[in-house]
Symmetry: C2
Subunit: 342 residues, 2 copies
Amino acid sequence: MEQSRRGGQPTLRDVAERAGVSAMTASRVLRDDPQVLPATRERVRAAAAALGYRPNEVARSLRLGRGTGLVGLVVTNLANPFYSRLALGVDSVLVQGGLKTVIGNTGQDPHAERELVADLVARRVDGIIAVPAGADQRHLAAAVAEGVPVVLASRPPEGFAADCVLVDDFGGAHAATARLLDRGHRRIGFLGSPPAVHTGTERLRGYAAALADAGLSADARLIRQGQTEPHEATRAATELLALPEPPTALFCSNNRNTIGAFRAIRAHRARRAAGEAEVALAGFDDFELADALGLPLTLVAYDSDELGRAAGRLLASRLRTGGPPAPPREIVVPTSLVEYGG
Amino acid sequence: MEQSRRGGQPTLRDVAERAGVSAMTASRVLRDDPQVLPATRERVRAAAAALGYRPNEVARSLRLGRGTGLVGLVVTNLANPFYSRLALGVDSVLVQGGLKTVIGNTGQDPHAERELVADLVARRVDGIIAVPAGADQRHLAAAVAEGVPVVLASRPPEGFAADCVLVDDFGGAHAATARLLDRGHRRIGFLGSPPAVHTGTERLRGYAAALADAGLSADARLIRQGQTEPHEATRAATELLALPEPPTALFCSNNRNTIGAFRAIRAHRARRAAGEAEVALAGFDDFELADALGLPLTLVAYDSDELGRAAGRLLASRLRTGGPPAPPREIVVPTSLVEYGG
DNA sequence: CTGTTAGCGCGTTCAG
DNA sequence: CTGAACGCGCTAACAG
């Protein structure tokens, strides 16, 4: 484990010198080119091992023009379990192809997202997997135009061609809302993410469609969109429950809203008149400890790791076959209803 | 937004050609070198904009020898909120220095971790932030020896010099155990991660020390180490509760064990004889919904985002000052006890 | 103010 | 079987 230069890693030439051969021969040995005399090969191998040599991947990718073996992952908030599971799913598939995942956390800021994508492209990532925060996807379209494959997760591409993995947002929301209706609820509130988010609008559509199927129409006063964090959802839910004619059930379009609504309902429980029925709760996204809340809970579940894995597979296959020629693919991950007991 | 070559991004020479200057001049303009005639500058700028040019960061880092602007983050399981928060904290600091985070998820596999670190070094990351899974840290020592700064999070370096950020494991565990003792518990079980993990052993030490302070000695029959996932912890806790002389309280060394133990206690509640007191629960790590479990719960809380941010800051400052010369620093994040009501 | 030369570390091409 | 030359895209150093 000697060092040949101040603090730096050894280079191919260091190995070659030590083995008494040219850099070219060393390169061949290290890439398992058979055209080398066994004796020479051994000398080079020994030298490389002694120096702890590892080829400089930066130089390789520049030379080979093949990209960097890196994939950018663009999400809004890694602390949200939805995104961290997605990240894990993506990474678990990509590592099998020798690819590594670069985190891009945008914190909901569209400008940061634009910069991030541009930077990833400048870094010559082999591809990008993104869950765009807003409706404007031109920065992603630009990446595609420059030859960087993009896979969208949980949102469809708008205005350009790209592979994507979606959740059955409409169907899941419809099923959950229908379940509440089946139980006799007629005034069902809706809590969701900002209207610009695709999943939010699709889930709202599913909710409204289920109401329509039951001969009801969505009541705008019972719909609150725009909550991103649980505490915002708690406030929104509390407001709904304080209405003159409050909803008897709530449907939430994601885990942040469900958790927030749960807290509101629990607080409301204390103030409730005797005999008054508890507000029913349903939501999109399963989450850890959902079974432990002491409240009946209907959740729209799906395999969120699989969402990431599917995105990773789409990108990996796209990289294998090269570029945009093949038509874009869309994968829809199915949902199912889960009931947690009170 | 024209393209000069098939699918590839435009190069500096494409810009130069289009502007009718040499590559060198174009380079100067794009790096805001003042030594350029304003008119020329405008021509180059226009050409770059028209082509959508972005400098190839791979080539730049090779040329400048300054590293890649990437930092490797080595953790065992990104789906664990502890690690995803850490990742977010790290990334939030690093982006401010123009650095990006590369995920390395090892899934507890020491071999995968070795490979991962070697690969990150080969990719010429500027530094590594790691939460090593096992006791063997030679791969990290090797990275340091090759000039790659390493910062450890939540474990101290073993056998080499590196900055690290620790949680007050001993103090937190001691305080939580003392709290249980104050409440009159004398038979307190312990559930923890595998003994090889530093936090696990430190927290066990804190637990044992608190018992000793109360004139008690740790009872090996009440100690279960090795649980990594909640379901394993549930089984271990269930076994403890089924002992002839079961513990009246449990202390868990991390959130996975606390959640697992919670489920065991809840199940046990149903089978409990009337009048028998409920098993008390305390644990290390705060977590979402801890307040909603319907069980009194004492948790050792700390700012887990700050853990990541501190690690990021240590690395960033190390990169600024360059290399290992300065003595290694150790930051300890304090803990506090949080009580959640039943 | 601008262009030429040279080379970061590696691998392809083509001669020895 | 091995080596010398060339270039990936970019920029520091030195011309002009």
